[in-house]
């Protein structure tokens, strides 16, 4: 019996744990540390139509139980991702979730069409919420109509299921979730980073070259749990939950809030072996609790508070 087996649209996973987009590159570095096939899936680094350098450095700053990042979507562009990164990944069987971003709807469409045609890509993750890109990106994630239109257009061109990654920087995340659900999204990823800032009191200027950055890590976990819980009351779409996960207890909390799988970002920096440790710990916990499958955690789900 595989207590951790998890099947979501496009993603047939041995376990529900994957590294989060942007915190794991395209897997090459971590492949030196462990066998990538141990993972439930991999969310790949955000990819855009053209290559991007991203923001100047400093790109990261530490905050209490969190970090700010403003990488700015640096990536080699969809062509190179396909020719170099995905072909390298062909030697693995772990399901891949390709994270895509863009400045315009056309950007997204082209990148989605190209990536989803690759045989190793099992699903797309639409990053409509990256707060570090000046044009486009952020608007899609905060306006339900734009988000819905983008989802619809990407769904039309995509060969694989589409997960929409929601931004926490909104007044009402449920409205966004419902809008993209209606537009045909196959699942949701949440949450992306919370926009924040740190000022260097030596200089009086923002510490990140970009000014603002995205807050991640345990500091944002209560926000993620709240939003997933809220959205779970409003939709049955599968949810890949993330935001501050660093322990098995956190994974369980995300499931109880309504997540069907989880992604681990920042914790990979503190401990590059964290994903493996969580998989092992979760298996042990599920065995102790005689849980036949981890998805059974949802059976007791409270649908209204």
């Amino acid at each position: 019996m595989n207590r951790l087996e998890t099947n979501l649209p496009g993603l047939s996973m041995e376990n529900p744990i994957m590294p989060a987009s942007g915190c794991f590159g395209f897997g090459e570095e971590f492949a030196k540390l462990y066998d990538l096939n141990e993972l439930g899936a991999i969310a790949l680094k955000g990819t855009t139509q053209e290559a991007r350098y991203g923001n100047e450095t400093p790109r990261v700053a530490e905050t209490s139980s969190g970090m700010l990042n403003a990488i700015g979507l640096q990536n080699p562009g969809v062509e190179t991702v396909i020719n170099e990164k995905l072909s390298w990944l062909e030697k693995y069987t772990v399901p891949l979730l390709a994270n895509i971003s863009g400045s315009t709807m056309e950007d997204y469409e082209r990148t989605a069409a190209a990536l989803s045609a690759h045989k190793r890509v099992c699903a797309l993750e639409l990053n409509i919420s990256c707060p570090n890109v000046k044009e486009g990106g952020i608007t899609f994630g905060t306006d339900p109509e734009l988000a819905a239109e983008l989802t619809k257009r990407v769904k039309t061109v995509s060969h694989v299921p589409v997960y929409v990654k929601l931004s926490p920087n909104v007044t009402n995340v449920t409205t966004l979730a419902k809008a993209v659900e209606k537009a045909g999204a196959d699942g949701l990823s949440m949450i992306n980073t919370v926009t924040g800032m740190k000022i260097d009191i030596q200089t009086g200027r923002p510490l990140l070259a970009n000014g603002t950055g995205g807050l991640s890590g345990p500091a944002v976990k209560p926000i993620a749990i709240r939003m997933i819980y809220e959205v779970r009351q409003a939709t049955d779409l599968p949810i890949i939950g993330m935001g501050g996960i660093s322990s098995v207890e956190d994974v369980i909390e995300f499931f109880m809030a309504g997540a069907n799988a989880v992604a681990v970002g920042t914790a990979n920096f503190t401990n590059p072996f964290i994903c493996l440790e969580l998989i092992e710990g979760l298996e042990k916990w599920a065995t102790e609790k005689s849980l036949s499958n981890i998805q059974d955690l949802h059976i007791n789900e409270v649908k209204t508070s």
């Binding site: 350098y53 991203g54 990042n69 990488i71 640096q74 920042t266």
Partner: protein, 258 residues
Amino acid sequence: MKKNNMTIYSNKKIANSIFEMVLEGEIVYDIERPGQFVHIKTADESPFLLRRPLSICDADKKAGRMTVIYRAGGAGTRLFAEKKAGLSLDVLGPLGNGFAINGTEVGKRAVLVGGGVGVPPLYGLAKALTTKGINVVTVLGFNDADTIFYEEKFKELGDVYTCTVDGSAGYKGMVTDVMKREHIDCDWLYACGPKPMLRALECQYPEAKGSLSLEERMGCGIGACLACVCHLQEDPSGREYRKVCSDGPVFPWREIAL
């Protein structure tokens, strides 16, 4: 590269805010070159998520020990300073590529220039160079007399020129001033320190062979997160770039846009 609980063999203050820590553990046996670094977790239950990158200053594979020297400046390094011998630290390493010295020829002279906490990796380098039979001259720049460390140690390996910004010890001024004044020219030049220092050196010795070691704020330390990228001089567009953690921290002169 390993993630290891290393035991603190010793941890002592050697100058104002500057500490020398000797660590024991398996990571030592993986060290390939001077100039590599380790990425150290600050504490077990801590609000500080990010590891701290520190250069490997010296390694003794026989004893299974390595030395790091750090400035207890911020919240994380201040926690290091409190740790007593016998405790352990969660260390990731060795990371990065380190100084390549295979090009250097016996009998030639190598000048090593360090600024502040850029000095530590040069000590291992100086030892490697002298072992190979290269003449080593060291130029050390510090803020003031109170923050000088390892001067004597470098003197055992060759000539040392020390300077301080405020003139409270050694020459007054910047390392490049001293080098000009003392007509120090170099076949091979190795440096580690603040970017303005590296920029001034590159400008003053436009033909130098050798390499420099860079600092950048890091996330993962292993090349995955792109926190630590830098531009190439040849490609200001940024299409090509380097990651300080995995492509560096040591780069040839005139490769990186400083």
